[in-house]
């Protein structure tokens, strides 16, 4: 049966069906079902997720000053960004201004995460959707060297170097321990790169893996440790002592200089390896223009990287804030996270219950009451669902909407907003990429556009690291070494009841925490995470979310190797493991894929 969604997509669930993971509540599982028509084109997509909606229960009654440590543990990939969002929410609730140095250091922490996460995402979580590792073994090292030198002056590019790497991969593959290369569809006709481009990309896969550890040393320096750096309500937990040599925990000149040198190397690696590789790979996939999702019509960013401390205005956010709806790039709407009419979460198709499910609730009034029921057309059982009934409840993810619109969040959303606002540092790099690849603006709204926006943002973040490190140094040299405001540390200084909101732009998109504090303890805590926006189920009006929209109308080269589904879902950098099982029309499982 074919239906039209209010946000302009046609869904047809008559074709053969593709299926899910057992829907448990274990951290980070996602399931995706699609219907394929007779030409193996996706005509209906159903995204089901399990998230950490138990978070609210864990935090209730806790000390708000500790909330960051808990939220940092809800997810393995975006730890620090949850912590930052949490301390901002609590500071907002308690009216705590932070020192300028704390703002700079927090920006450095967040930009470090952006740079590292985007790099790792591209090479280690996404590149193999475009790069065929096995085909790399057939490459000519000399021709690979010529290709490398034609796109970048990165020094590691001799024929001998590529030959060594090729031999190492060969030995690894031949030993039978494919490890990270185990789930690939090597040889699938959807792979379009020549062998040399494959070898170049796999070589840089290894280099990037080695290099990313350098970037996160910045977290160790300013956060005290990594993984799981320390955060502090009121500032940052690192003292600055420029004259010190060994004060425990204090950041001295030697440490500050180390950060500076890591930033230089990060800029160089991203601009000389990541970006040239991205463009080279993209040039072979210019005609694969699927996966636009909601990016051409509805995108949202809360904004982040405040230039000055304690100024929440849109103008102060270097990553732009705004909302675009109905595909109208000429108008970027203001976003107010406190306005009960703007952000609302619906649960009609989620495994939660509200007193009135036709309406959405603002996160401050959010309710998290689980209700795991399946629709009448479900195939299978509660513990082993074979095919989900999307006409009923079908996801552990709520459906957040902005003024009723399903929105896409993430790097592409941010860059579309920056582009639409005409901000030169966003508009110019986008135009340069489009010109270099000889592509129209419409090419931006695709899986590849999403992947390219992330690369541009990785470079942007690396250069902004330089900016904030210089700003921090200048402030220190001017005599300001203040990093924390502890005036309102004691709960007796707090109002008996208050509420706040904290946001960041996490690597994968808009992240918000809403907290209600009563008598010094957390009374309600709601997190709306990027993957909640992108992976949301349908809302009461029938609008579909970004994952579902992005999969529609994509043809699969081989129905039993859904490489294209992975490509598009990976391009969102989903913050959860995602399992897809392709089922035959009779319900027989054709294949099972682990996504990330």
């Amino acid at each position: 049966m074919s239906v039209q969604t209010p946000n302009g997509f046609e869904l047809d669930n008559s074709g053969r069906r593709v299926v899910v993971d057992p829907v448990t509540r274990i951290e980070g599982h996602m399931r995706c079902e699609v219907n394929l028509d007779e030409n193996n084109v996706i005509r209906n997509a159903v995204s089901t997720g399990t998230m950490w909606r138990g978070l609210e229960a864990i935090l209730r009654g806790r000390d708000p000053r500790d909330a960051w440590a808990f939220t940092q543990r809800i997810c393995g990939v975006c730890t620090g960004t949850h912590a930052l969002t949490s301390v901002r929410a609590v500071e907002d609730a308690l009216g705590i201004p932070i020192p300028e140095n704390a703002n700079s250091i927090r920006n450095i922490m967040q930009l470090t995460l952006q740079a590292q996460d985007h790099l790792v995402h591209f090479y280690h979580l996404h590149a193999l959707d475009w790069v065929d590792v096995v085909a790399a073994l057939k490459a000519d090292p000399k021709a690979t060297s010529a290709l490398a030198q034609s796109i970048s002056d990165w020094p590691l590019s001799s024929p001998g170097y590529f030959r060594d790497v090729q031999n190492r991969i060969k030995r690894f593959v031949e030993s039978g321990q494919l490890g990270p290369f185990m789930n690939g569809y090597w040889g699938n006709p959807a792979y379009k790169l020549p062998p040399e481009a494959n070898l170049l990309a796999v070589t840089h896969y290894l280099e990037a893996l080695d290099f990313q550890k350098e970037i996160v040393k910045i977290h160790t320096i300013y956060g005290g440790k990594n993984p799981h750096p320390n955060w502090l309500v009121g500032g940052v937990p690192c003292a600055i002592n420029v004259h010190g040599t060994g004060a425990v925990g204090a950041v001295n000149m030697e440490r500050l200089n180390l950060v500076s040198s890591i930033i230089d190397r990060t800029i160089e690696f991203i601009d000389k390896v990541y970006i040239p590789d991205l463009l080279a790979i993209a040039s072979f996939y210019k005609d694969w223009n699927y996966g636009g999702g909601l990016s051409a019509q509805a995108v949202l960013s809360y904004g982040d990287i405040p230039e000055r401390a304690n100024d929440d205005s849109a103008e102060n956010q270097l990553l732009p804030r705004g909302a675009i709806i109905n595909g109208n790039l000429a108008e970027v709407h203001e976003v107010d996270l406190r306005d009960p009419e703007q952000i609302q979460e619906y649960v009609l198709h989620s495994w939660f219950s509200y007193p009135d499910e036709s309406k959405g609730l603002h996160p401050w009034d959010g309710i998290t009451e689980p209700n795991f029921v399946l629709g009448p057309n479900t195939k299978g059982t509660k513990t082993r669902i074979e095919a989900i009934d999307e006409s009923a409840k079908y996801s552990w993810i709520k459906a957040p909407r902005w003024r009723g619109h399903a929105m896409e969040v993430g790097p592409l959303a941010r860059w579309v907003i920056g582009y639409a606002k005409g901000i030169p540092e966003f508009k110019e790099p986008v135009e340069k990429v489009l010109t270099d690849l000889q592509l129209p603006v419409s090419a931006l709204f695709s899986t590849l556009g999403r992947t390219a926006a992330r690369g541009l943002e990785g470079s942007w973040a690396a250069h902004k690291l330089r900016y904030f490190q210089d700003k921090l140094m200048a402030n220190i040299k001017a005599g300001d070494i203040n990093t924390a405001n502890v005036d309102k540390w004691e709960p007796k200084t707090w109002p008996s009841e208050t509420r706040g909101v904290g946001t960041t732009e996490a690597p994968r998109g808009a992240l918000g925490h809403w907290v209600v504090i009563k008598e010094g303890k957390i009374d309600n805590y709601q997190a709306v995470v990027p993957t909640t926006w992108n992976g949301s189920p349908r809302d009461p009006s029938g609008n579909i979310g970004a994952f579902e929209a992005a999969l529609l109308n994509t043809p699969l080269a081989k129905a039993d190797e859904p490489l294209e589904i992975l490509r598009t879902l990976h391009s969102f950098d989903p913050c959860l493991a995602c399992s897809t099982h392709v089922m035959s029309p009779e319900g027989e499982e054709l294949t099972r894929v682990r996504v990330r």
């Binding site: 509540r25 980070g28 809800i74 393995g76 990270p180 290894l206 990594n226 799981h228």
Partner: protein, 188 residues
Amino acid sequence: MSQETHKVLLLGIGNILWADEGFGVRVVETIATRYRLGPEVRLLDGGTQGLYLVDQVRWADVLVVFDAVDYGLHPGTLKLVEGEEVPRFMGVKKMSLHQTGFQEVLALADLLGDAPRHLLLVGVQPVELEDFGGGLRPEVQDQIEPAIEAARGYLDRFAVQWTRTEGALERHLDIPHQSLSIAHYLPT
């Protein structure tokens, strides 16, 4: 063998917010609060970091991993696996994201030419995982001491010195923030 200095990593992995999933991290935390170890020994709360642990793993000559593992055994059973068998056990039945991730971490360390030469997995069969916000079940909690003893027994061959400290928490590479410590985490 004992003459040589080995770099030893004691790594706890898992999510401390997911009941018995937190076993590995809690073992490392317990060690950190009780013992001072030599300069060539690192203790690490790896959480669910997956890929980001590659660097630490590459540093180590000797790697001891503490984790909740689905061996298909009676809940609360402790089982040791050594050497090449380890990746296999960490990938057979995936219980959460980090396990598959960790199998990849070992493979990537190998691909980069720096796999640890000696590997021990100290795993416990969990009782309960689906209790978000819960702590270790008593049967699993009871395996923390035996897990430490097992690691000590294994590390004797590498001449690792364990010095008991009373009360004073050693500053280690990474253990959970105080608000998440065993003492503070439960009850809410």
